[in-house]
């Protein structure tokens, strides 16, 4: 048709060929569990994907006739898609929800009560093993709805090789003074005054923002960033001090690149790999990838300094909360799989083969040798920072505070806005978005 004789023939043939080899989506049978995650066990490009594959194989072997069908999703959209699919009845049986969206998912009634499915039956010992801030966070209205995997924490990546060279002990950098002094030492300026390496790389772009220095300072000094009505409460002395501290790294001490004003977290990791930054602020989940590029001995992690010697400032935790869809027709089976993915054996695999932060205390206790290995030391460091200073968003908090705080930083740097005024503007913008 359309007279494209030759071309059409080629295309039609190709179309028919692709049709015939296209495998259609399998209809979920009674014994098929669908799961949405950002991990693709079929690809196996990441250690954690290989662990997931192993766990699925084990589960399928132990439960004859059951098939786990993983439907890998794009991580940014996955949770929203789940919330929407819950309404149309097309959500998967097992779901990985972004930690920050968990309260929303629970309020929507999208997640099933795990206590009813399996956690009630746990022995006290078993329950204690998994207990912790994450498990408590998952218990919103009195019951547990998810178990958080792929835990991550914002903190400082450092180039271990450069630290060794400069003779700096990262464990000692618990106060901002010491931190700044170390970063100044690590900053390298060429003869022409051009900086070839910055001590502390930061990124203030609003896209994909992590929580920044000001955020940690506010939590350190005030303990909260929202008022009792969940309104942003940032234009405080702590906020002003924090933002000034964050920006003085550029303005005063020149240890942060001026380009930070509009650079992104993703840029930081690249620059870190390229040796342009000695320390960056980053999410611990990305350590294994930095190690792949640089070698395990060159990357380390420490928490966020504070104004108190020997104590870290709080920083936001992240993770993926695995739960069961409340509308699933196979809740029991789905619960069984969630429990299995979080079992002792599974946690061992996630940690030792997948490089994930352990979710069970016993995993750390029983594998001391593994954690003692310098290659894996970062896992203990991350776990320690999380334990000591992990911050969970309060109930009823909205979202977008990192973005708004970064906008304030940009505002001050670009428009020379007064720090407090910039924070007020950010507060208003946040409160307006959340009708507060």
């Amino acid at each position: 048709m359309f007279g494209l004789d030759r071309t059409t023939r080629i295309l039609l043939r190709a179309a028919v060929a692709s049709l015939s080899i296209l495998t259609l989506a399998q209809q979920a049978s009674a014994q098929t569990l669908r799961m949405w995650t950002f991990l693709d066990p079929a690809s196996g490009k990441d250690p954690r994907e290989r662990v997931l594959k192993k766990l699925i194989d084990q589960f399928e072997a132990a439960n004859a006739g059951v098939k786990i069908q993983v439907e890998p999703q794009v991580w940014q959209q996955m949770t929203d898609k789940f919330l929407a699919a819950t309404q149309t009845g097309t959500a998967p049986d097992v779901m990985w929800v972004h930690l920050r969206r968990v309260p929303d998912a629970i309020k929507l009634g999208a997640l099933a009560n795990l206590d009813d499915l399996f956690a009630k039956k746990w022995s006290k010992e078993e329950a204690d093993d998994i207990d912790g801030s994450f498990w408590r966070f998952s218990a919103k209205p009195g019951a547990h709805y998810h178990i958080t995997h792929s835990r991550s924490n914002v903190g400082q990546f450092y180039r271990a090789d450069l630290f060794r060279e400069a003779g700096i002990d990262p464990k000692s950098l618990t106060t901002w003074d010491k931190f700044v002094a170390a970063a100044e030492k690590l900053t390298v300026r060429g003869d022409n005054g051009v900086t070839t390496r910055w001590g502390f790389g930061q990124a203030f772009a609003t896209d994909g923002a992590n929580n920044s220095v000001v955020f940690s300072v506010m939590l350190d000094k005030n303990g909260v960033i929202f008022d009792e009505k969940n309104r942003a409460n940032w234009a405080t002395p702590a906020g002003v001090d924090g933002l000034n501290l964050q920006l003085d790294m550029i303005r005063k001490w020149k240890i942060t690149q001026p380009g930070a004003v509009n650079e992104k977290n993703d840029d930081l990791y690249d620059q870190f790999n390229a040796g342009r930054f000695a320390i960056i602020r980053g999410a611990s989940a990305r350590i294994p990838r930095a190690m792949t590029a640089l070698g395990a001995d060159k990357v380390g992690f420490f928490g966020t300094p504070s104004f108190t010697e020997g104590k870290f400032s709080p920083a936001e935790v992240a993770g993926w909360s695995v739960g069961v869809w409340s509308g699933s027709k196979q809740k029991e089976l789905a619960g069984k799989f969630v429990e299995f993915m979080s079992s002792k054996e599974a946690d061992r695999l996630w940690t030792m083969e997948g490089g994930a932060v352990p979710i069970r205390k016993s995993t750390v206790k029983e594998n001391a040798a593994f954690f003692a290995d310098p290659k894996n030391a970062y896992l203990a460091d991350v776990a320690a920072a999380m334990l000591e200073a992990g911050w969970f968003p309060p109930d009823g908090a909205g979202a977008g505070w990192n973005e708004e705080l970064n906008r304030a930083a940009q505002d001050v740097l670009t428009n020379k806005t007064d720090t407090k005024a910039a924070l007020q503007k950010a507060e208003q913008s946040y409160n307006r978005a959340h009708r507060l």
Binding site: M1, F2, G3, L4, T7, I10, L11, L12, A14, A15, S18, I21, L22, L24, A25, Q26, R34, W36, F38, D40, A42, S43, G44, K45, D46, R48, Q69, V70, E71, P72, Q73, V74, W75, Q77, D80, K81, A84, A85, Q87, T88, G89, T90, P92, D266, Y269, D270, Q271, N273, A274, G275, R276, A285, R286, P288, R289, T292, A293, L294, G295, W320
Partner: protein
């Protein structure tokens, strides 16, 4: 054609412009292709490494072993089906709009033009759109993406083909009617061959749109087996960070079929055809 000196000067100036465009277009993509051959430790360096790296296939191997080719196959089917659907529906409609009179024709054409923003900006109402299709059970089906991709391209296909039909004298249709052709024959035997450049351009646009579409591809289907390439590509910009090596390798693989398609349809855009249709 006679060329004046002014025309030649214009030609030289245009040559310079096109050359700069070529550089601006080729450099980032060439850089991406180079990156796809770099091992992780040599990917991100300062100063940037142009050629002094140890070339490796590992990124490609990891991409292919990661099941990317399944996505290539899906996207090939989706894109070809979208081209077929949009050209068929759009071609018929363009013919109807240009060559016939009927009631509410103007209103219908307004709807066609109004559909262009609805198609291009469809991500803006992603959530209600998902709810709409999912409640009809039309998500996560083999036909979901061909339908969406095809229809997204229907308005612009109608418009471009109609624009091209306008230039073809109506006497040709009449001659064919008198020669015994049905209106469908007039379309397929007489008008379509004369619209080849526009059909080629439309086919390219439809194919490229379907091939590079990301949002619907990631939201409207769930199953691994149904995923087109763009969401799969996005897996390399994952939660654990950007993987430039596999990302650029996958993008390099993804661009090859388009170049192939361009060689096929772009041919139609190389020479014009409407000469000598009539004399008047």
């Amino acid at each position: 054609m006679v060329r004046s000196r002014g025309l030649q000067a214009m030609n030289i100036a245009m040559g310079v412009v096109v050359l700069s465009i070529a550089l601006l277009n080729i450099i980032p993509l060439a850089w991406g292709v180079l990156a796809s051959f770099k091992p992780p430790s040599q990917l991100i360096t300062y100063p940037p490494r142009l050629f002094d790296f140890n070339a490796t296939w590992e990124n490609y191997i990891s991409v292919v072993e990661g099941g990317f080719m399944n996505g290539v196959r899906n996207s090939t089917f989706y894109s070809i089906a979208a081209v077929a659907l949009a050209l068929a529906a759009g071609g018929l409609a363009a013919f109807g709009f240009d060559r016939f009179e009927f009631r509410q024709k103007g209103t219908m054409f307004v709807l066609v033009i109004a559909s262009i923003p609805l198609a291009i900006g469809s991500a803006a109402i992603l959530v209600p759109k998902f709810l709409f299709f999912a409640s009809l059970g039309m998500t996560n089906q083999w036909y979901t993406l061909p339908l969406i991709y095809g229809v997204h391209s229907v308005p612009i296909t109608i418009w471009t083909l109609k624009g091209s039909l306008e230039g073809i004298p109506k006497e040709l249709d009449e001659a064919a009617y008198v020669d015994g052709a049905s209106s469908f024959m007039v379309l397929t035997r007489i008008l379509a061959p004369l619209c080849k450049p526009a059909i080629g351009a439309a086919a390219l646009l439809i194919f490229i749109h379907a091939w590079n579409e990301f949002v619907a591809g990631s939201v409207m289907v769930d199953a691994r087996e149904l995923k087109p390439i763009q969401p799969l590509l996005y897996q390399y910009i994952g939660f654990f960070g950007r993987e430039w090596g596999p990302l650029t390798a996958a993008a390099t693989i993804a661009i090859l079929p388009i170049l192939l398609i361009y060689a096929l349809f772009g041919r139609l855009l190389v020479s014009g055809l409407t000469r000598g249709a009539t004399k008047g």
